[in-house]
Symmetry: C2
Subunit: 199 residues, 2 copies
């Protein structure tokens, strides 16, 4: 499975591709950030993001695109631009028939670090460790995109992409109150081992 993670934003849009035969051994395929100048108008910036994102879809042919979910209660000063960039990437992926999965920041933190209130440094450190990288991915948006892709790989069976069947599964789980870190016990153990090795 190959997952393209997207950390949406107008100024910096993080992109990270992760691939794996076994979910427990994801490996880095590509990581990068699309930057657009703040003094360009929003439409010009979104046009540049559309071009770059379609280029990533062409080059990396992901099986799934995992995008950070934007909430109405997010930072008001950036929410419109973030929602616009997320809508653009969602639409471009979906029109190709690529399933799109949304994950909240706390789901990503929980999946990658084991707790939902981890800070950016902890996420970056865990991503570096999980993907066995020599140096942490920079900037943070790039690490966040990789964390989204890893999260989807691990949570893919429960949370997930835009097929009606899967959505019902998620709703059923929510209704049953079976919420948590989103990791299986084996993944929890493994994450704990990684954390220990990393500290």
């Amino acid at each position: 499975m190959r997952v393209l993670g997207v950390d949406p934003g107008l100024t910096r849009l993080g992109l990270g591709v992760v691939e794996s035969d076994r979910p427990s051994r994801p490996r880095l395929v590509a990581v990068g950030v699309v930057r657009t100048p703040a003094d360009d108008s929003a439409d010009v910036r979104l046009g540049a993001i559309a071009e770059a994102f379609d280029g990533w879809l062409d080059e990396h042919r992901p099986d799934v695109v995992a995008i950070e979910r934007v909430f109405a209660r997010s930072d008001v000063s950036t929410i419109i631009g973030t929602a616009q960039a997320s809508g653009l990437t969602m639409g471009l992926a979906a029109r190709r028939g690529i399933p799109v999965a949304m994950h909240t920041p706390s789901e990503v933190k929980a999946a990658v670090t084991g707790h939902g209130r981890a800070d950016k440094k902890q996420v970056t450190r865990m991503v570096t460790s999980i993907l066995r990288l020599d140096a942490p991915p920079r900037p943070a948006d790039a690490a966040d995109a990789l964390a989204l892709a890893i999260t989807h790989m691990w949570r893919g069976a429960t949370a997930g992409a835009s097929t009606p069947g899967k959505r019902k599964d998620v709703l059923a789980r929510r209704a049953a109150g079976r919420q948590g870190s989103g990791l299986t016990p084996a993944q929890e153990q493994w994450a704990a081992a990684l954390r220990a090795a990393d500290s």
Copy 2:
């Protein structure tokens, strides 16, 4: 000049194309609404909007796309979907090199009816009158898209599209405090005449 107006939304995205040799005599080219089912996931809905919107750009080849500006203080329950749909259409137009102009709802109301707090009925009535239509465009999203296109045609010289030169003009005008309904005196007169004829 041919202007494609866009009233962005996930459930209904209004589209209206208006053309004119003289701004004072805009005529209807096409009007429609892209509807997506509320029980589809957001990405699938955005993918359908991307396909439909690109189809409109292919068919009608607008010189400018005029989109309603989304504010962070808008209705919280729909703001994310509206911003996502607006970002998608902005990016798709801009990547083709088509200038994109943003107009606020009150700019549109002021331009079309003469006052910024007009209700939807008044906007629809004025659009019907300005374009000399036999019946009002339905639903309201379609009328709003036409109103955006008309607004851009009339305000195009002052507010406007995403070229640095024009942006500077707008800023200079704002700095000089020359704000108002956005209509030239001739347009004001003409709008008043239309209002009188319509009432």
